[in-house]
């Protein structure tokens, strides 16, 4: 007899099928099924009461640093996967800045193998654009495609040579692999570490001007047009970038942008006590940038939500501000922050759109089968209580690292159960 699970009385939000209605979801043999899967008289079906809950396709985070191989003291594929599960994510896309760098098929094979052995969620690796993320010559993109990467990115770095970037995008088009870009002009940014503005001036910290991002966003728009292939701009932080993306998308350019929770929940005012949990790249920006990001989310210019989950050990972060590595953990706080800010407090988007930005949009970008509750799909399901009030406690994180500026924050909305392939892998 097949294993059957019945998720009852939930609000089913499945944007891929334009569904938003009360009802039940049936899972049989790890796949979404219909009522016929429940044999009459069958009594051993597991029932999950989802009344008051959102039943959504398993969420996808397309921007996560799992740190393995190379930096297992910060995070492992296993711990990062548990953090993802606790945050409501059933699929995460991991960045290639590991050691060794994921710029070759054997490292991709190692990651896939490790994920198979240790991960409770789906791990989808990306491959580097350039060898060793050095921005000098192309990584073996075709071999990476054959090894199964879902996208190419030099995240954390940015290819400065426009000709190399153009050829990378052109070449990637042959394999239908989207290119994800961390937008940072090294000349303009120099050794800047915080938003160039009032706080950098006051504190004497070196400025990272918004123009340093916008120049590369513009470059990517031009190259996406030239190559007729998709470029996705990661962790957009500035008002100017939103403006450029809005205009380009209106013209039909294959360009998109993502937003991280810290860039809308915080401003650069957060750096005033030199707390390195507020140090990330791109940096926290000004109030006007936050407002522009919110508008960009509201009007669809920014179509994808992601964490840029960047774990670092406490001893690495507890140093002088200049010396600290960039980045914050995000998997276990992002859904709560986005529901709280975008849906409840600022009322910028509906819950259904939020789910769409975490499922349909990333699935479309990376051409994944995930992100839907269609019949026959892998039963990856996230149950969300959008009204649940909770307090972030970094000590409870599944992640090995604790580098968050949100410790102690009161949030409304969080995932309460995460199901992968029909199996509950995490429950509040």
């Amino acid at each position: 007899m097949s294993a059957v699970t019945l998720i009852r009385n939930g609000r089913i939000v499945d944007p891929a099928n334009k569904r938003d209605e009360s009802g039940d979801i049936v899972i049989a043999d790890g796949r979404i099924a219909d009522r016929s899967a429940i044999k009459s008289g069958q009594s051993d079906a597991e029932e999950i009461d989802a009344s008051g809950l959102l039943v959504a396709p398993g969420l996808i985070d397309i921007h996560v640093h799992l740190r393995e191989p190379g930096f297992a003291h910060k995070e492992t594929i296993a711990s990062g996967a548990r953090a993802a599960a606790a945050g409501g994510f059933t699929t995460v896309v991991c960045m290639p800045n590991t050691a060794p760098v994921a710029d070759n098929p054997s490292t991709i094979a190692w990651i896939n193998d490790r994920a198979l052995q240790t991960s409770c969620v789906h791990i989808l690796p990306t491959g580097a654009i350039s060898k060793d993320l050095a921005g000098e010559e192309l990584a073996p993109i075709g071999s990476l495609a054959q090894a199964g990467v879902v996208a190419l990115t030099d995240d954390g770095h940015c290819v400065q040579n426009n000709e190399l970037m153009r050829r990378a995008v052109e070449y990637a088009a042959m394999f239908d692999l989207p290119v994800l870009d961390h937008c940072q002009d090294y000349g303009l940014v120099g050794n800047g570490i915080v938003n160039e503005g009032y706080w950098s001036t006051l504190l004497g910290l070196r400025g990272w001007p918004a123009a340093g991002e916008e120049v590369i966003v513009m470059r990517n728009i031009l190259l996406a047009e030239l190559c007729q292939h998709h470029i996705h701009c990661q962790h957009i932080s500035s008002a100017g970038s939103v403006r450029l993306l809005r205009e380009a998308r209106a013209r039909g350019v294959k360009i998109s942008g993502e937003v991280c929770p810290h860039h809308i929940a915080l401003t650069d005012e957060g750096i005033q006590n030199f707390d390195t949990n507020y140090k990330m790249n791109p940096p926290l920006r000004a109030e006007a940038d936050v407002e522009a990001l919110l508008e960009g989310i509201a009007d669809g210019t920014l179509s994808i939500l992601a964490s840029d989950h960047a774990p670092h050990a406490d001893f690495e972060k507890e140093v002088e501000f200049d010396a600290a590595p960039f980045g914050v953990v995000g998997l276990e706080t992002e859904l709560g922050l986005f529901i709280d800010l975008l849906v409840h407090k600022r009322r910028k988007i509906s819950l259904a759109r939020l789910i769409e930005m975490y499922t349909v949009e990333p699935a479309k970008l990376l051409k994944l089968k995930a992100g839907t509750l269609s019949l026959g799909a892998s039963a990856d399901v996230t149950l969300i209580n959008p009204k649940l009030e909770w307090t972030v406690n970094a000590q409870d994180f599944q992640s090995i690292s604790r580098n968050t500026p949100f410790d102690g924050w009161r949030l409304k909305g969080r995932a309460v159960r995460t199901i992968v392939g029909g199996k509950t892998i995490w429950k509040l």
Binding site: Y198, S200, T201, L202, L205, N273, V319, E320, F321, D322
Partner: protein, 314 residues
Amino acid sequence: MTTEAMGIRWARKDLLGLRELSAEEITFILDTADAFKQVGTREIKKVPALRGKTLVNFFIEPSTRTRTSFELAAFRLSADVINISATTSSLTKGESLKDTARNLEALHADILVLRHGSAGAAQFLAERLRTSVINAGDGAHEHPTQALLDLYTIREKRQRIAGLHVAIIGDILFSRVARSNIFGLLKLGARVTLVGPSTLVPREFEKLGVQISHRIDDVLPEVDVVNLLRIQHERQRKEYFPGIGEYTRLFGLTKERARLLKPECLIMHPGPINRGVEIDSQVADGLQSVILDQVTNGLAVRMAVLYLCGGIAT
């Protein structure tokens, strides 16, 4: 000056910057320095105020003037002093700043004077140590004792600070001296104009409550004090202005420009000066120059700071 009065008016174990101090606290340090200044003129230049206390001069960035001044100030207060520089510290062996400092604390150091290339380094240690932390310059952030000695010198020569107009001239963007001076001067009621190339005096500074000018000849006749900053043109400044020659032509306090100053206008410089670059050699030695008075006053101001914060640390 009584300790009781001080106990009431001074409650900080650390001196991290002038931005966090009130006008009353700044004035109180200057008043305390008044009392210490005359110690330096006595035949026996020593008081027992910090006898039995240990002061560590922890200079991660090179400095001679500030380190010597703190060292001498500590000697005059009868403290025991050790000096640690970047090369003699175990930071070169990969030890973190926090661990090095905690080791010094474990040796019962009472006061840590820190010079560090990173903004916020002094606050970082102050939040983690019971030891008193005195910021002797953190990156481009603050250099509070330099600004205090500048304020002391202005007050000594002009009997007041409120209402005076001070021009700070030079590389403001990368200057901790400029920032601490801006915070201190504004709190005490002075008016501040920043002068220098637009690349080194960005508009953003106006939000701090100062004025900005790129025309030094318009500013000089208006001001009561000019504070000239050392200008450098090393590797990381090459993109900010074309060269020293052009800087001197546009912003140097030449003999001709010095004639534009009011006769009572003070000429200050935190040192070390580049003669013939930001200031003409004769002007630096002229009657309006108080550059060496600043050095002398620095000792009294640092004695006051060590005395006040060192007293709280116990």
